[in-house]
């Protein structure tokens, strides 16, 4: 079975990101970057599937040169092959462009199953998995909180507003997994060393037969960036045994008890 996992290198979600005031692109200089924490669940899900059912995991990422770190981390965790699509023209790509590029790379590689997170932790559009599925003309089994593969049938508990749906889908398919679906492994030292000799494809949009898929053709433009209004600070007290009482008083004052 051929499993392709999409990963993204993002600014550390625990740091405050910034946009370039001129271009409105994400400032990537001087910012710590990490593999999107959501993607670790996707990589783990893929590895568990091939460990149980056989096959190989390929990891694919679109982004600047530094996206290589995320690909390498996935290789260190156990993926067999990496693909990075990098091009200055892809800066500022919107969700649809991102999906087009990733779908084209996945198609070129071949797949039985594509695994993604539910959304990236920097852009948060949360529609790239569905758009990739549409472009590949396969089902998008989204928001999986648990999964198993039975023969060629994927059985998934899909998060819903009310609870969950039990979904059965035949492969090929796109699967998006929620945080907490599994416990992502840490790359071992052996894995990290081994990652360096694993095959890595460096692609440009031209390799994918995509004409200028970046900002030039993106159908949206950032027109304004402004600091969000801050909440007025309140009172902070140290608990001297009366913390609970003060909170209860506050709840009474707010008429919720």
């Amino acid at each position: 079975m051929k499993v392709v996992v999409c990963v993204k290198q993002i600014p550390d979600p625990n740091s405050t990101g910034q946009l370039d005031p001129q271009t409105h692109f994400l400032k990537r200089e001087g910012v710590e970057v990490v593999m999107d924490p959501g993607d670790e669940f996707g990589v783990e899900a893929a590895l568990q599937l091939v460990e149980k059912h056989g096959g190989e995991v390929t990891v694919v990422s679109m982004g600047p040169e530094r996206g290589l770190d995320a690909v390498r981390k996935a290789l260190a965790m156990g993926a067999a092959k990496g693909i990075l699509i990098s091009d200055e023209g892809l800066r500022g790509s919107d969700a649809l462009t991102t999906a087009r590029v990733l779908a084209a790379a996945i198609k070129r590689e071949g797949f039985d199953l594509v695994i993604t997170a539910t959304e990236s932790t920097d852009g948060y559009t949360g529609v790239v998995p569905q758009a990739i599925a549409e472009l590949l003309d396969v089902p998008a089994v989204t928001f999986a909180k648990s999964l198993e593969l039975d023969g060629s049938t994927l059985k998934v508990k899909r998060q819903t507003e009310a609870g969950y749906d039990l979904v059965e889908a035949s492969l090929p398919a796109v699967l998006s997994v929620t945080a907490g679906v599994n416990e992502p492994r840490y790359p071992s030292l052996k894995g990290i060393m081994g990652a360096k000799s694993k095959p890595l494809d460096r692609l440009a949009p031209a390799d994918l037969d995509l004409a200028g898929a970046g900002a030039a053709t993106a159908g949206q433009t950032i027109t304004e960036v402004a600091a969000a209004p801050e909440r007025a600070a309140g009172e902070v007290v140290r608990d001297e045994g009366d913390g609970a009482k003060r909170i209860a008083d506050f709840l009474v004052q707010r008429k919720v008890i």
Binding site: V127, Q130, A140, E161, A179, V256
Partner: protein
Amino acid sequence: MALGKVWVFADIDAGKPAPVALELLSKARTLSDTVEAVAFSKDAEAAAAELGAHGAGTLYAATDPAYGEVLLGAPAADALASLVEEHKPDLLLFGMTYDGRDVAGRLAAKLGVPVIANGLDVSDGNGVSVSTSIFGATLNVSTKFDGGAPAIAIIRPKSFAAESSGGAAAKVVPITTPVDEKHRRAKVVDRVADVASGPKLEEAPVVISGGRGLGDPKNFELLEQLAQAIGNAAVGASRAVVDAGWVPYSMQVGQTGKTVKPAVYIAVGISGAMQHTVGMKGAKAIIAINKDENAPIFKLADLGVVGDVLKILPQLVDEVKARKG
């Protein structure tokens, strides 16, 4: 008004439109004189009155039960693509729900038009713009559509108030596009509703959320006890503890997760990472309990208590019970 026609995708559950659909219809009325709803549910017609009362003149409804037997995204995107072709709306609004994202994402790819997600506001002036909030709601970004029509926007729930227009029931126009056989590749074989022990997270007047500072998953019981003592309260969680597998994703409050705007939000052992605060900073009042006095959550709190959450929580349960008599 500049926009000729605005459509709202309405999630329907047992004949009831999702609150976000009513919020979006209310907003849509300020953007266009022609506001219409689209729904895929065998009970869609039962929602026509409420959708109409919030501004939908017409309800395009797919009531074929086949739509409920498969994952909705693909067949709904198919049907919507032909409807869009026929009726040419300028803007499609989706709520940021699971199905809303599935349908909007596939539809954008199918039509080759841009989609802007995670929106907090939508406006029209020389083109449609959507406001989003990024980096933990420290920056507000306005993004304008300049691709082909229609513009597709996905808006976070609770971004607008649902206000009645006093309109008559929406005129129901059936969607007749059949579900293509290929969409049976992803079947919904069962729908399971979580047993809710209290109010929904998004609707509760008091929300108590726990984070890493609780130290152990079993300490979420203390939050449940507090919720029960308060009464009309729901328990949520930060991403850190959802990622760690302590509690399910459905409890997550934040950018990835639910947006809540309760009368009082109590953050327990939550540092206040930006990812979390965007989902709760709209609360009318915020209480934070954390042992680290430098935790960013205290910058948002109306009342912050620096201390040991495991000591304070049991005391708080007693204090609340005492005050309620």
